[in-house]
């Protein structure tokens, strides 16, 4: 066990000060230190994308970062998008298009695409699939996720 390090991380707009081992994964920090369990881990080796969060506004795999690297930075997780009573348009579209089954990959998908839609307000199917290639889902066959992203993009662009 190595010496703990003090860090300050802003997660979903709230500042957290914690003492952590340098080796603690950012994903474990978010889930088990902060109790924000919406972020999932499906592989912890950087392939499945279930652990995707935003790091200073950009999607990253939180299982491939250490919590200490987030010192002084800003993280957003799925909990920042919407609430059960007030879903984000992307979450709403996922529900309407049945883009989730077990829901385990879903937080990662949402964080990937909430960012993607900002950059691609009018995405094609190919662009959506290309953007999804870093997120695995075992349940849905992906088709309904493509449909949900298109629907959300249309709505968010006010079309």
């Amino acid at each position: 066990m190595s010496k703990k390090v003090d860090i300050k991380v802003t997660v979903n707009g709230k500042l957290y000060e914690r003492s952590v081992e340098p080796r603690m994964l950012l994903s474990d920090f978010i889930r088990h230190e902060l109790g924000l369990t919406g972020t999932h881990t499906g592989c912890e080796h950087g392939v499945c994308g279930t652990c995707t969060v935003w790091f200073d506004g950009e999607p990253v795999r939180s299982c491939l970062m250490f919590a200490v690297q987030a010192d002084g930075h800003e993280v957003h997780t799925v909990e920042s998008l919407g609430t059960p009573d007030n879903l984000h348009p992307l979450q709403q579209a996922f529900m309407e298009k049945h883009a989730l089954q077990c829901g385990f990959c879903t937080p990662g998908m949402l964080m990937t695409f909430a960012h993607f839609i900002q950059r691609h307000p009018n995405p094609t199917d190919e662009e959506i699939r290309e953007a999804m290639a870093g997120n695995l889902c075992r349940c849905t066959g992906y088709e309904n996720i493509v449909e949900a992203v298109k629907l959300a993009a249309q709505r968010m662009a006010g079309k």
Partner: protein, 786 residues
């Protein structure tokens, strides 16, 4: 028994009740559970696939700060025990030989597969627990490993279970008619060897368990993402010498099941509850992805020696299939998987003579238990390939030869004479097989493609091919499921079942069944699918049985509650029952909607605090019901695809993907279609991407998502075109059949046919699965050399 039901909510694509929580990170999965004082477990696992254990030194691990305990098999003392079998031997089949070797919770004396646990560490954090694994030294004497099924049965092969004297785990044959006599009369006989390799269950959430012994209450609570809550509770209670009510199993949200999560008596659920009681501390174990690949359970590998005998005009006279089934190091799940292969081989075809034999083999590989498709796809692959080879030999069109041999609607229900995984004779209960094939052929535009498009594309130098294959999916097997439906004083309805849910939308579809009967909003029906303190009867979610078996129980319970509500309301409203209706959360006079009584108020009246209730009436607006099918219901369908093989890279691109299926009455079309989508993804995976690659030493070479390829969004067809048929099953009042595994079954067979058809200028046969670009390249290269 099937009645035409006019439905309000059944058959509607209702949005899911569970989604708002899942979408916002508010749904609790097993790894989200934190308890005060909780210890974290990590397993030390064997690197060898086959080895004798000489000694295990855990002293350094025990001395590490933060480590609370380290246990090896020795340390478990008398508690160490094997098994039990989760599925009993197939005694219903005459002459069946079965050698039971149930799971060992932690290896003692000998290691039988790579990844088998040798020690378990309990520490204050998972990080420390994993550190301590590096402190353990196991002195293992490696033994020669056996991974090949045929070699395993040769004399002198290394023995997985020394005491058995053989690696033969089971030998079971079944027959209908007389294949050899049929063969003697045949014009054409085609025989081949087929091989299909293993794939992983691959749920995105790994397995996990949290258990907490409460010394004061003398009660064990376990949270676990299992597909089979009641069997697991019963197993844990038995292991610990507790009565069933002293063990509570709570099922949180489950991040996908796909088969492996049906297992009980695995190392974690045998050892950790015992340790929690012993140490009087809660314990959590969450599997990591590597462990999931190495040491959970996986899909089968099988070798088939199959032959088909036909007349010269393409009528099948008989089929013979002798196959090897690799069960891995143990056989805890009996013969479910190879029996599924047996019952699904003939699929939709009318074959009078059939001989099928399973030789189940122990090897030094991970244990095999059902994974979505669960052996069905192997039978279907073999049969569909035989049909293709026959068509080629007889110069017939692949669709024509299929059409010629289909079981006709008037022949249903069709007794196959083959006993299935549920130990009763397999019966094809309902459907219209020719309609399915016709529909798929029409949807994909078979004629036009073959006559116009394909010649044009071939002239352009493209390798473009079409494949059309049929399948059946035995679903909804027994023994039974149950449900309790209760109307609360607030008018909301609670549904309890023991059938857990891994993403199949039971929180919504079960709610729809209740809403239909009680006239409430689907959102006002709260479904709990696995809390054994609340409902403790049932078998679990597997074999595509959730909606049909548990759903039928839910529907029956709701029907009883409806009758109770009507009877009570009739008295209170002084109106005959026939004039009442249930709608909008009330019981009201149909012609006078202002005369009503809310369901919540009725619930209160049904549970008076003084006075009495009528003799013979149970209190509350509540009822429990069970449903036990006489045998499974059989779904079916046809898969038609058009694909292109890249001449340079040998990669395959799907151009069209048509899937026709029949699952009887559909409760929620949106959910049903998505079940097909997900199944197809696994089907395509096992056709062209997914393969657990073992070397001769029994080492799994691709135990990560980096190396094991699951289809990504870019690997899937752009659009799955689904065609629906709906012939209700006569086996249950709603006419339901399952469909959870359908999509996973036919794609390998469809790929094989279409790829051979695409590479028209090379004479070659695809007999092994899965393919990938390099295997396909090798096949074509070898054929060109000839």
């Amino acid at each position: 028994m099937t009645t035409e039901v006019k439905t309000k909510v059944i058959g509607k694509s209702v949005w899911r009740n569970e989604d708002p929580r899942l979408l916002t990170g508010m749904a609790q999965f097993v790894d989200d559970i934190e308890l005060p004082g909780m210890l974290h477990a990590a397993f030390y696992r064997s690197d060898y696939a086959h080895a004798r254990i000489k000694s295990i030194d855990v002293s350094a691990a025990r001395a590490r700060p933060g480590v609370v305990a380290v246990y090896t098999a020795e340390d478990f003392g008398d508690y160490w025990h094997v098994g039990p079998l989760q599925v009993p031997p197939p005694l219903a089949i005459k002459g069946a030989q079965f050698n039971a070797r149930p799971l060992v919770p932690i290896a003692k004396d000998k290691v039988r597969y790579s990844g088998e646990p040798l020690a378990v560490v309990l520490a204050e954090s998972r990080y420390i627990a994993e550190d301590a694994l590096a402190d353990i030294y196991a002195d293992l004497e490696p033994l020669p490993a056996v991974t090949d099924m045929e070699k395993a049965l040769e004399p002198g092969a290394p023995l997985v279970h020394d005491d058995l004297g053989t690696n033969l785990a089971a030998d079971v044959y079944q027959q209908v008619g007389d294949y050899e006599a049929a063969k003697a009369k045949a014009d054409v006989v085609i025989a081949r060897r087929f091989f299909k390799d293993r794939c992983a269950g691959g749920a995105m959430e790994n397995r996990g368990i949290v258990c907490a012994w409460d010394e004061k209450a003398q009660k064990m609570t376990v949270w676990c993402g299992t597909q089979a809550p009641i069997p697991m509770r019963n197993a844990i209670a038995k292991n610990l010498g507790l009565s069933e009510d002293q063990v509570r199993l709570v099922i949180p949200f489950i991040g996908g099941g796909f088969g492996p999560k049906v297992m009980t008596s695995m190392p974690d659920d045998v050892l950790l509850p015992w340790l929690s009681r012993k140490l009087n501390r809660p314990i959590k174990w969450i599997e990591d992805r590597r462990e999931n690949f190495l040491a959970t359970t996986s899909e089968r590998d099988q070798i088939h020696y199959a032959e088909i005998a036909l007349t010269k005009d393409g009528k099948i006279l008989g089929v013979k299939d002798v196959f090897y089934h690799n069960t891995g190091a143990y056989d805890p799940y009996g013969m479910t998987v190879p029996l599924n292969t047996q019952t699904h081989t003939l699929g939709q075809y009318d074959v009078p003579n059939f001989y099928t034999q399973i030789k189940m083999v122990f090897t030094n590989k991970m244990v095999v238990t059902p994974v979505r498709g669960a052996g069905r796809n192997y039978g279907v692959f073999v049969m569909e390939r035989l049909m293709d080879l026959a068509a080629k030999e007889l110069k017939m069109d692949p669709v024509e030869i299929r059409m010629k041999n289909l079981i006709q609607p008037h022949q249903l229900p069709y007794k196959t004479g083959i006993i299935g995984q549920d130990f009763v004779e397999n019966v094809l209960d309902s459907g219209d097989y020719p309609a399915s094939l016709k529909k798929a052929v029409e949807m994909i535009g078979y004629e036009k493609f073959v006559k116009e498009e394909q010649p044009r594309l071939r002239a352009e130098g493209k390798w473009v091919g079409i494949g059309v294959v049929n399948f059946v999916e035995g679903t909804a097997v027994g023994p039974y499921e149950g449900a309790r439906v209760t109307v609360g004083n607030n008018g909301k309805v609670v549904v309890l079942t023991g059938c857990s849910t891994q993403g199949q939308a039971h929180f919504t579809t079960f709610a729809q069944l209740v809403a239909e009967q009680l006239g409430v909003d689907v959102k006002d029906v709260h479904v709990t699918t696995g809390d054994t303190d609340q409902f403790h009867w049932g078998a679990g979610t597997f074999a595509s049985r959730g909606i049909t078996v548990a759903g039928s129980a839910v529907y029956a319970a709701a029907t009883k509650v409806r009758a109770k509500a009507l009877s009570l309301a009739s008295k209170l409203l002084e109106t005959p029952e026939e004039e009442l209706e249930l709608a909008d959360g009330v019981v009201r006079v149909a012609d006078l909607p202002s005369k009503f009584i809310p369901l919540g108020e009725l619930a209160m009246k049904a549970n008076p605090t003084r006075g009495t209730i009528e003799p013979g009436v149970e209190p509350g607006l509540e009822a429990t019901a069970y449903y036990a099918p006489p045998h499974g219901a059989t779904g079916y369908g046809t898969n038609a695809i058009i694909l292109e093989v890249d001449k340079e890279t040998f990669d395959v691109k799907i151009r069209r993907f048509v899937f026709v299926h029949d699952c009887g009455t559909v409760v929620n079309p949106m959910v049903a279609e998505a079940q097909i989508h997900g199944g197809v993804q696994m089907g395509i995976g096992t056709a062209f991407f997914e393969q657990l690659v073992y070397d001769d030493n029994g080492q799994l070479l691709n135990a990560s998502f980096q190396d094991y390829l699951m289809p990504k969004a870019t690997d899937m067809p752009m659009k799955m075109e689904l065609g629906h048929l709906s012939v209700p099953s006569p086996l249950n009042p709603l006419g339901l059949k399952g469909l959870g595994e359908a999509g996973a079954i036919p794609p390998p067979a469809a790929y094989a046919q279409a790829i051979e058809n695409a590479i028209h200028d090379v004479d070659f046969e695809i007999l092994d699965m899965p393919l990938n670009p390099s295997r396909l390249y090798e096949l074509v290269k070898a054929a060109r050399k000839k």
